[in-house]
């Protein structure tokens, strides 16, 4: 929408690498063709997604204002930028930052773009990217050109291709790393960008690099392909390689990555990635998007078969000199300090320095140097703060700043003797908050603020928790201070709620006939060991009561834990039944029926709606039979989890399946009160009455959740494994959540 958009190519002539410039010119042409109606909207949607230009909430042109659904009548009328996506509606531009590495020029440019095209804020994501919100689609070529002029491409930031390649932000300076993975992450980025073998995926593909197995930083366990640095001796020479894993992923149902190879030499890293990509492109699901991630392919084939296919594919690859050239080029780069190392000055630091130093500093393996973390509340930073950060980085280091998956920045190679001054400079612009990586440093996805898929306000909740926890942070028991909280606005896990101590993801429930925003409480996940284990869903609690959940659980943990016991072990030892019992009262409706405090979400005064459509009001109803039966189905999911915890694997799987059958029956009964208990009949009627009519249908996940039930029904009689039971329990929970949503959307209650 900027009047100056037509000037961008001319103003930046000679500053943009030719290949990047050509790409952007092509996109600009496609934009013009779409405006002229000469490019189909679906095609344009995929093309803009592949350049990181995303939609945002309300871009279908409708928004509930709290009383009714408003139509947004944009000047461009019915012109769209994708299916049900209005041309003029604000969007989001994702900016890839491979390995999180940023130069000062890049930071300055992002600051400028945030001011001129966005709302003044640059947001750091859980995959080390930036996001700018409220962007007009017509501004995106100019934005891309300005980024290209400082060496950033937005190509494949979104869409069915290779997304940002993340890497440990301490790579190269970490005391525990096996070796610096930075050059390999960079080589991987350069090799895969636009590669023909990654253009035909059914879904996104996310690689990650980690320098060690024991810490969190690379999170390889939850990535499509993960590389963990390792070495071995060959003929008396230490050889670098990677433990390589595939098929991890969060999403609605989290999967642990499986071991592909315990040692892939560095020169094989790129061809193996290429071989995996080819197998994924060839055999991965393309029609059913809810099963199109590589994790499902690995699960369905089994890792043995997958490994065999990759090995066979590897043999067919034509030699590509870039496999080694890119690695050698990248290895040639070495970071260094700009100032001599030293020791912390003996004199007292500025006020607040000691508190900040306790949580925000990490000694480097290079003597005399430290990594300083800049903690960003909710991952947000202003243009002025970015410029101030640039000044700090320029003064004290040599462009050695990286974004992190905890939505912060780390400044590497800071001489210890510069720390007090550096802190003062950061603090002066609001970048000196202590508590990095601690309980106050909450990770959250954008949620209902801007994401079309958001169910509950993850950022609203995070802001409230951050405020309350910050007020109390210096009173915390050390064990509580070190806990991690992560929040996702929905089941898609962009907030990574599975890999933390206290995780929350948005769900919807009905209370008294009204839709109420809730969060499912997920406890005892593991951040360490590359996101080693996933948390367990316990119970859904109204959004406005989550601060009480945090308060209660942390208090119980302090009171009940054994010496040195982690929260993960505490949660496991306590067990799901007890944990649920601790929170059960918080799930009940308010005692006073006039209390409407639960019916809006954090930071949003509007009456909560699901999908921004108004919900029906039912006067006089108590609890409907459907709600009774859905509650019973949800209880069965819980029982399935308990069975699994007790080692009753087959029972767990069967119970999870039956919970879905019973959930389906609850809905079928609304239309056919005489439905039998026969699963075949239930599923047949569920399919006809709900699936085929798209009543049981998520606006963005489509028929994904119903397919969980259909798939499970097909596999009845097959023995369960621990993994398959666990996945089925997660799927059953999501099915029940979806059944609630379906029921809410129907707006129908029946008085008991």
């Amino acid at each position: 929408m900027k009047v100056s958009n037509s000037l961008s190519a001319q103003k930046l002539a000679g500053k943009i690498p030719e290949a990047l410039g050509r790409e952007i010119d092509i996109f600009e042409t496609e934009l013009i063709l779409r405006k002229q109606g000469k490019l189909e909207e679906r095609v344009f949607a995929e093309t803009r997604l592949r350049r990181g230009a995303y939609g945002q909430r309300y871009d279908n042109g409708q928004r509930s204002d709290g009383a009714r659904v408003q139509e947004m009548r944009y000047p461009s009328g019915d012109l769209t930028k994708g299916p049900m996506t209005m041309w003029d509606a604000p969007g989001m531009q994702r900016i890839k930052v491979p390995g999180g590495g940023l130069t000062v020029d890049q930071l300055e440019t992002v600051a400028q773009l945030a001011e001129e095209y966005s709302d003044g804020i640059a947001h750091v994501t859980t995959r080390q990217d930036f996001q700018l919100h409220y962007i007009h689609i017509e501004d995106t070529p100019a934005i891309m050109r300005r980024l290209a002029a400082v060496g950033i491409t937005t190509r494949e930031a979104c869409g069915n291709s290779v997304r940002n390649i993340t890497a440990c932000p301490y790579a190269g300076v970490c005391r525990d790393e096996v070796f610096d993975v930075t050059p390999y992450a960079q080589a991987s980025f350069r090799f895969l960008l636009g590669h023909p073998d990654v253009q035909n995926f059914g879904r996104k593909f996310k690689p990650a690099f980690s320098g060690c197995a024991q810490h969190a930083c690379g999170l390889t366990n939850l990535h499509d392909i993960g590389f963990i640095a390792t070495t071995r001796q060959e003929n008396g020479v230490e050889k670098r390689g990677f433990v390589t894993v595939v098929g991890g992923g969060l999403g609605a149902v989290p999967y642990n990555a499986k071991l592909l190879d315990s040692f892939v030499p560095v020169e094989e890293m790129l061809p193996i990635t290429q071989a995996v990509s080819r197998v994924f492109a060839r055999l991965g699901e393309k029609k059913n998007r809810s099963r199109a991630r590589i994790k499902f392919l690995v699960q369905d084939l089994g890792i043995e078969k997958f490994r065999q296919l990759v090995a066979e594919e590897r043999k067919t690859l034509p030699y590509d000199p870039r496999w080694t050239e890119l690695v050698k080029d990248a290895e040639a780069f070495q970071e260094s300090a700009s100032r001599p190392g030293g020791e912390l000055p003996a004199a007292l630091g500025p006020e607040g320095f000691d508190r900040w130093a306790r949580t925000n500093l990490r000694p480097q393996k290079q003597d005399g140097y430290t990594v300083a973390t800049v903690a960003l509340p909710l991952g947000d930073i202003t243009a002025n703060q970015l410029r101030a950060l640039v000044d700090v980085v320029r003064k004290y280091t040599k462009d050695t700043v990286r974004s992190t998956v905890e939505q912060n920045f780390v400044i590497r190679w800071v001489s210890r003797k510069d720390l007090p001054e550096l802190y003062q400079a950061l603090d002066a612009v609001g970048l000196g908050d202590p508590g990095a990586g601690a309980i106050v440093d909450i990770v959250t996805c954008p949620g209902t603020d801007t994401c079309k898929l958001g169910i509950s306000s993850s950022r609203g909740l995070a802001a409230e928790l951050h405020k309350r926890l910050t007020e109390k942070q210096f009173q915390f028991d050390q064990a509580v201070e070190n806990l991690h909280i992560k929040i996702s606005g929905c089941f898609n896990s962009c907030g990574q709620h599975h890999v933390c101590d206290l995780g929350f993801y948005g769900v919807s429930r009905k209370m008294g006939g009204f839709a109420v925003p809730h969060f499912q409480v997920v406890l005892g996940g593991e951040w360490e060991h590359n996101g080693g284990t996933y948390g367990t869903p316990i119970v859904a609690v109204p959004s406005k009561r989550i601060p009480e959940v945090v308060s209660r659980l942390t208090e119980k943990y302090v009171l009940m834990r054994t010496e040195g016991e982690t929260f993960k072990d505490f949660a496991k030892r306590t067990g799901k039944v007890q944990l649920k019992a601790m929170l059960e009262d918080l799930t009940k409706p308010p005692a006073d029926p006039r209390d409407r405090s639960l019916f809006s979400d954090w930071g949003d005064p509007r009456e909560y709606t699901l999908g921004d459509m108004g919900t029906g009001e039912c006067a006089g109803e108590v609890v409907s039979p459907v709600e009774f039966e859905l509650a019973a189905a949800e209880r069965e999911v819980f029982e399935a989890q308990v069975a699994l915890d007790n080692g009753k694997i087959d029972e767990a799987g069967k119970t999870a399946y039956l919970s879905m059958v019973h959930g389906a029956r609850a809905l079928v009964k609304l239309m056919n009160p005489l439905i039998s208990d026969d699963p075949d009949q239930i599923l047949s009627e569920f399919k006809t009455r709900y699936f085929d009519t798209q009543k049981f249908w998520d606006p963005f996940a489509g028929g994904k959740f119903a397919n969980y039930l259909f798939d499970a029904h097909q596999k009845v009689g097959q023995p369960h494994t621990e993994d398959s039971s666990r996945y089925l329990i997660d799927e059953a929970q999501l099915f029940i959540d979806a059944a609630h949503s379906c029921y809410n959307q129907l707006g129908t209650t029946v008085t008991v």
């Binding site: 309300y58 604000p90 709302d119 005064p605």
Partner: protein
């Protein structure tokens, strides 16, 4: 030079406490449509230090109670182009900011927000059109004089330009005496 995408910030008396009630107020404005622009959403950045505060996102423009540089002010950010002359654009953006300010001051629940009519900041939010250089300043100065004389009266204000070349081109006008929003609007209409 065509100076588009004007940002006008009216510096106000008040504290960050004024930000919280703005969230429901801006949501209500989306519902009631009291402003010319198509209003779309509310963005809450109260958690950000010296940040954009609370923003009412519109299609043609955003309105906000902005706290950049630790100075609270009602900010009008014109995003869409505006036809006419530079004077038309300066007046349109200033008028929109003043109208929004008046509406906010009448809102009961906004504690202590008051525009004393002393300082107004003008920024051109487009570095392609108006890089922060001496050339831009030379082209802008006659426009500013015409506009400032109309708004405050000749000789009744001073102007200080943004000196940091990394920041956007802008100028802060300081009136020699406080002028009410009503009077400024009347001056713009005369």
């Amino acid at each position: 030079m065509d100076f588009q995408h004007l940002n006008v910030k009216l510096f106000v008396d008040g504290t960050e406490a004024a930000l919280e009630p703005l969230v429901p107020i801006f949501h209500r404005w989306i519902q009631n449509k009291p402003l010319e622009e198509l209003l779309l959403d509310v963005a809450d950045y109260r958690h950000v230090y010296d940040g954009p505060g609370v923003i009412l996102i519109g299609h043609q423009a955003n309105y906000s109670l902005d706290n950049t540089d630790g100075r609270l002010g009602i900010l009008y950010n014109r995003k869409a182009g505006f036809e006419g002359t530079n004077q038309d654009r300066l007046q349109q953006a200033t008028r929109a900011a003043l109208v929004a300010e008046q509406k906010l001051e009448t809102e009961e629940k906004v504690p202590g927000i008051h525009f004393p009519g002393k300082e107004i900041q003008l920024v051109i939010n487009d570095r392609f059109i108006a890089p922060n250089t001496l050339e831009t300043r030379a082209a802008f100065e006659p426009e500013l004089k015409s506009f400032g004389d109309k708004l405050f009266g000749a000789g009744n204000y001073s102007a200080v330009y943004e000196s940091d070349p990394r920041k956007r081109f802008g100028v802060t006008l300081t009136a020699s005496r406080p002028v009410s929003a009503q009077e400024l609007l009347a001056n713009l209409s005369s």
